[in-house]
């Protein structure tokens, strides 16, 4: 492995390869196979999908080792897995297992309420959630090779994903109209690293790919995220909590490719069986909002 810069390039490189794709949450090898056959670009191995974590409660942790291995053995596409925020050792274990990407995720119960993992120390790339530009740049500062907007996992309600995508976009646009003299004050206000603030101001985008997550349940939801600038989507409960997971997975995969063609989206969505039922995000208490975890 070459220098640190090359190491970061290959991490971001894998994120580049996942663009225009769908990353599906799976809890068994069987589901992973369904995801791969449907055209998913990657799978996310976890113990329970977010909708079940909400209902069942309890501490949500990294998936069982046997489960991750079983999933790695049955698909050829990249396998991601989630760790609790700040759980350095779960991260080290997933790296030892050679998962392809680690999601330091608010969907699991946080292990550290102050600190996230210092991700530059790892060879495996990380993706982290964010609600706005400041949070995105803090995670990138720690070494995240991909950002995903958090949305509200397990809700089936797209409203939070939209809020977070819009906030990130607005944050990027705002930086581009500030002059150099204003950037330090803005960095202070965003609580974000100055160098990254300046990079965004100069380049009019995040330095790593930006995907969307949290609440995507239909091909139209996936299309909306792409319209708002997401470069790919994560789908959690939206597929395997729907009435016909293989059919819905295929439809969402196609929607992410053909999102600019409304007639095509009509065709893709026609005859789909029932989506997941969902919870209205605005009815959740602040305690129940997974997106409030992490900072």
């Amino acid at each position: 492995m070459g220098n640190g810069e090359d190491r970061f390039r290959v991490k971001v490189g894998l994120a580049e390869m996942l663009k225009g794709g769908v990353i599906l949450d799976v809890t068994t090898a069987e589901q992973a196979k369904i995801a791969e056959d449907a055209g998913a670009a990657a799978v996310m191995a976890l113990e329970r999908v977010p909708a079940d974590i909400r209902v069942q409660g309890g501490v949500a942790r990294m998936a069982a080792i046997e489960k991750i291995v079983e999933i790695q053995e049955c698909v050829s596409i990249p396998v991601m897995a989630k760790i609790r925020i700040g759980h350095i050792v779960e991260a080290q274990m997933l790296q030892a297992l050679e998962v392809d990407f680690i999601d330091e995720s608010e969907v699991l119960t946080p292990a550290d309420e102050e600190n996230h993992v210092y991700k530059h120390d790892f060879t495996v790339p990380f993706v982290c959630g964010c609600r706005n530009i400041g949070e995105a740049l803090r995670r990138i500062g720690e070494g995240a090779a991909m950002i995903r907007t958090k949305g509200e996992a397990g809700s089936g309600d797209i409203v939070e994903a939209v809020r977070h995508l819009r906030a990130v976009n607005r944050g990027i646009k705002t930086l581009t109209i500030l002059d150099d003299h204003e950037l330090m004050a803005e960095a202070k206000q965003l609580e974000a690293p100055f160098d990254l603030v300046r990079w965004v101001a100069q380049n009019d985008r995040l330095p790593v790919p930006n995907f969307a997550a949290g609440g995507i349940a239909t091909p139209a939801d996936a299309g909306l995220c792409m319209t708002l600038g997401a470069e790919a989507v994560f789908v959690g409960s939206g597929v395997f909590k729907s009435e016909d997971p293989p059919q819905r997975a295929r439809a969402i995969v196609e929607a992410v490719t053909h999102w600019q063609d409304p007639a095509r989206l009509v065709e893709i969505s026609r005859g789909l069986r029932e989506p997941m039922s969902g919870l209205e995000a605005s009815k959740l208490t602040s305690e129940e909002m997974l997106s409030r975890r992490g900072w």
Binding site: E16, G20, G39, V253
Partner: protein
């Protein structure tokens, strides 16, 4: 000369950025109709199983095979090489347009991805290097008689050519060295209708 970029899934935007910097006109290809318009085509990196699934849905696979047999110049990178390969291990469907065998993820999972110098050999025997970004790269384990190898990593062929097809198991689109894209553009200009 209009260069197409297959834009079903993967890093097609990175290829488009290279074409933009070379001032080459390009169009994204997502349907068989769009494929008919182009004079050259790039098959990007990404996930070959996802791309294949989306190509079948579109009737693109058959049309693409027709056009490549008709001489359409192609640059395939990483997953694009898998799409064109004759035989793949572990077995999966492909277009079978390149007389090579390919082993998927042969160098290991993502933690083994790396940047490495690829040794280039031109037809006159002169040697040079190009930066290769290898990401969960496939390995070419056999090349047929019509395949010319002009880039190697250690002993393995990583940059090859067969007729109008240029294939790299790495990602020239993720570097600032655009020699491989220029090669395709040259072919496309020759092929232009």
């Amino acid at each position: 000369m209009l260069c197409g970029v297959l834009a079903l899934q993967g890093d097609w935007a990175a290829h488009a950025a290279v074409l933009r910097s070379l001032e080459v006109e390009f169009a994204y290809v997502r349907t068989a109709r769009e494929l008919d318009e182009v004079d050259a085509l790039i098959l990007p990196g990404g996930e070959s199983t996802a791309m294949l699934r989306l190509m079948e849905e579109e009737g693109l696979a058959a049309r693409l095979a027709d056009r490549v047999r008709g001489g359409l110049p192609v640059l395939a990178t990483c997953a694009g090489v898998i799409l064109l390969a004759g035989n793949i291990h572990p077995p999966q469907p492909s277009l079978g347009l390149l007389d090579i065998d390919v082993e998927r993820n042969a160098y290991g999972r993502q933690v083994h991805s790396r940047v490495a110098a690829v040794e280039l050999v031109d037809e006159l025997g002169a040697t040079d290097e190009i930066e290769g970004v290898f990401i969960r790269a496939p390995k070419i384990t056999r090349t047929g008689a019509d395949v010319i190898v002009f880039g190697r990593l250690d002993a393995d062929p990583v940059l090859i050519r067969q007729g109008g097809i240029i294939a790299a198991t790495f990602h020239p689109e993720l570097t600032d060295d655009h020699r491989i894209h220029r090669l395709l553009v040259g072919e496309g200009a020759g092929h232009g209708r």
